[in-house]
């Protein structure tokens, strides 16, 4: 659950493990992991300066900061993937020097990566003990049965007997793979004779939503007593919820260490970016009552396995939010309306025109619908220039000429780079050289160039830092003011609340509620969450 703001609002789920660790803080034993004054530069640019941190057994500490604040560099330093220029790393009070990740593993440090480091075509047990088969070998022959037994026992120990260790990893969903990844660190720690591993979780929920996040949180609660965890995430509410203490990194320096209890997200934002996050973040003062015609009319829309009987109207100039957990059907709804998913029944009218039965992206985009998919990798073509990326959707327009109008393409690109404030070395720069937020602005421009009446955005600020978010929100407000209707599908509740005129709440494939969200009467997160679960 991405957006809920503190543990106290979500009784009964989490927060139980917090006390145990706090009691230990006063004890005499050295911390499991201690970092003293670590510094690291890349070619004269300081990525980390004088960073210190302590982590005790049973503790979960949160590490937050904007993109580029140095979080990844710090984690890589701890896991031996980068060597610090200065400072010391202590494990159980012992000064260690890590040359590579294998060294870190031997000290019981495990980095669990953003994109999971499991090999889909190998089985669960082969993955868990990969590169450690030696412990199960005799005369160079690997005893597969012993490995399987070892892993099966371990899974049972953590209460995950439902995972069949002999099955291929690719047959499991993302959240189960995350479980496998986490238990893998325990398996390897055990092999190294270490009782309590240090686990570095780098954006573990970036690929997950709703239920899966909840599941991961419970897993962390269940394992925290046996380990120590550094938790990195952009989803601040999540970090506050799961952590005992938080460290805030800003421009490579540790600017704050705070207890998590009672901590407000606003306070963290302030520390991370040096400004208060408030209604101005979402440009709420620019929110207008939509004056336009109905641009999108949906009635009795159903798709097997996704959602049933969905009906709503969207007016020009309106931002209509769609909230819901994973499996609520909100993402599929966006995909169907964009023509990216087939097999839906019901009626859709775009600007008064009834959409023909067999939807396709071409049909929908010719009617004036633009779509930003949830994964930015499905939006940008990395080797192509900013200008070419921007013009791509326009070129698919019905009746577009066979010859390219390169001069016109450049003119359009220059104009949008200026009006949307896209930071790029130029319109001929490869789009892959731009930051995530600026790439996203190029993708917005792509659909604006096609004279879009309706924009469907699925998590448009996913993985984008706070500063770039604010800019994107400003752009969205401007687009709405020009009369475009925006359907905003998002996991970020604060974003939905801040931006939307109305919010549709979906649960289990049906539209359960419509919540008005005028600038002076924004609903709370709790109100939305109550309908989502």
């Amino acid at each position: 659950m991405a957006g809920s703001s503190s543990a106290t609002e979500r009784p009964g789920t989490l927060g139980a493990g917090r006390t145990a660790a706090s009691e230990r803080i006063g004890s005499a034993s050295p911390p499991l992991l201690e970092i003293r004054n670590i510094g690291k530069s890349f070619g004269g640019v300081r990525a980390l300066s004088g960073v210190s941190l302590t982590l005790r057994k049973g503790e979960v500490i949160g590490l937050v900061g904007e993109n580029g604040a140095g979080k990844s560099t710090l984690l890589k330093t701890i896991s031996g993937n980068l060597r610090p220029d200065s400072g010391a790393l202590l494990v159980n009070g012992r000064d260690v020097s890590l040359r590579n990740y294998a060294d870190a593993n031997r000290e019981g440090i495990f980095h669990i990566y953003q994109d999971l480091a499991l090999i889909p075509t190998l089985s669960v047990y082969e993955n868990m003990l990969l590169a450690h088969e030696g412990a199960f070998s005799r005369f160079g022959v690997v005893d597969n049965r012993a490995m399987l037994r070892h892993v099966t026992d371990l899974l049972a120990e953590f209460g995950h007997e439902r995972i069949d260790a002999s099955r291929k990893v690719e047959t499991y969903d993302l959240s189960t793979r995350q479980v496998i990844e986490i238990i893998k660190s325990f398996a390897l720690a055990k092999l190294a004779g270490i009782e309590s591993p240090v686990m570095l979780l780098d954006e573990p929920t970036a690929a997950l939503t709703g239920d899966e996040v909840e599941f991961l949180m419970r897993l962390i609660q269940a394992t925290r007593e046996r380990a120590a965890i550094i938790y990195v995430s952009h989803r601040l509410s999540e970090v506050i919820e799961i952590s005992d203490r938080l460290y805030v990194l800003k421009d490579g320096a540790m600017v704050a260490e705070l207890p998590a209890t009672g901590l407000a997200e606003n306070r963290l934002h302030e520390l991370m970016v040096g400004r208060t996050r408030d209604e101005f973040f979402y440009c709420e003062h620019k929110q207008q009552e939509p004056q336009g015609e109905v641009v999108l009319e949906v009635g009795g829309l159903s798709r097997t396995g996704s959602f049933a009987d969905v009906a709503f109207n969207l007016r020009g100039g309106e931002i209509l939010g769609v909230a819901g957990l994973l499996g609520s059907g909100k993402s599929d709804l966006g995909g169907v309306l964009a023509g990216a998913l087939s097999g839906a029944t019901g009626t859709i009218r775009v600007g008064g025109t009834i959409v023909p039965k067999n939807l396709s992206i071409r049909v929908m985009s010719d009617l004036g619908i633009g779509y930003l998919p949830p994964d930015r990798r499905d939006g940008v073509i990395p080797p192509l220039s900013v200008a070419s990326n921007m013009s791509l959707a326009r070129l698919t327009r019905h009746g577009e000429r066979y010859w390219l109008n390169l001069a016109g393409e450049r003119r359009d690109a220059v104009e949008f780079v200026a009006t949307l404030g896209i930071k790029t070395a130029g319109i001929d720069a490869q789009i892959s050289t731009l930051s995530g937020g600026n790439q996203q602005k190029v993708l917005l421009a792509r659909w604006l160039l096609r004279q879009t009446k309706v924009l469907i955005l699925d998590n448009p600020t996913n993985g984008v830092d706070a500063g770039a978010k604010e800019e994107i929100y400003g752009v969205l407000r401007r687009i709405a003011a020009e009369g475009v209707g925006i359907l905003l599908v998002s996991d970020d509740l604060l974003e939905l609340i801040g931006l939307s005129n109305r919010i549709l709440v979906m649960r289990g494939g049906t539209l359960v509620r419509e919540v008005p969200a005028p600038p002076n009467g924004k609903p709370g997160e709790v109100e939305l969450v109550a309908d989502m679960v």
């Binding site: 992206i361 499905d378 940008v380 073509i381 990395p382 080797p383 070419s388 698919t396 577009e400 390219l404």
Partner: protein, 306 residues
Amino acid sequence: MAAISPWLALIAMIIVFTALNGRFLTIGNAINILQQAAVLIVLSVGGTFIILMGSIDLAVGSMVSLAGMSAAMLIRDHGEWAVILVPFITMLVSAIAGVLFAYARLPSFLTTLGMLYAINGMTLYVTQGAAINLPTDLVIGSIFNGSLLGVPTVALWAIGIALAATFVARRTRFGRFIYAIGGGETVAKLCGVPVARYKLYAFLVSGFLSGVAGIFLMLRIGGSDPTMGDPMLLPAIAAVVMGGTPLTGGVGGPHRTILGVLIITILQNGMNLANVNPFLQNVVLGAGVIAAVAVNMDRKRLLSVK
């Protein structure tokens, strides 16, 4: 680096070969090189469109054999102007691979590998392995294999085709869509690009041009041999990659392939003049391909190399 390295290679070769043999840097030899390069230019420029999509066409060599055979038979049985049909025949055959790849979603590598074998077998079956000789007084011979003001016409045709292909790649919607498919197929699809149709189009272009290449080669050797195009497969792909279009697609283009063809042709021509053993020439060519890949590929950005 990737952009200028083919030029550096060209300049280096010209210097070395000039030093080894005085006859290398003469107008006569330059014309020789152009004539030798012509067939390969036409063939690999067509293949470039496929590689730009991140796919591959392994059938281009056998397609040249098929084209040569068809052309020789058509001329023998229906007069020399029937040769116009040849590019359309190869285009149709390439459409089979294109449909299997684009619509049945079979990998291009295996589809075209299968096509390579099937076309080879068919050509050998129809000709019973025999060569077909051409009459010497063909009008098309003077059009496509003659000389204009001392320049071989085949080279002029090849340059014209390469320029047209470059224009198509850079200045048409078709070209842009091919780059987009190679750079990110899902993205292209989500932008409304009819991906399957354009994949098929690329195969039609490649098929058509291998037919043209086959006619040129047939006219040059004065007849057809059922396996005459087979040895051209590797040089055709190597020229694309050496020019600067990686097998992963999305960047490069036909204008780069012209450079790649010149590098390969000059290397062969220079080694011939320098009396390098023909077997050793292959060793040098192989090393050249590997070096080109090493320079051109952004290996740091690749997650894994397969």
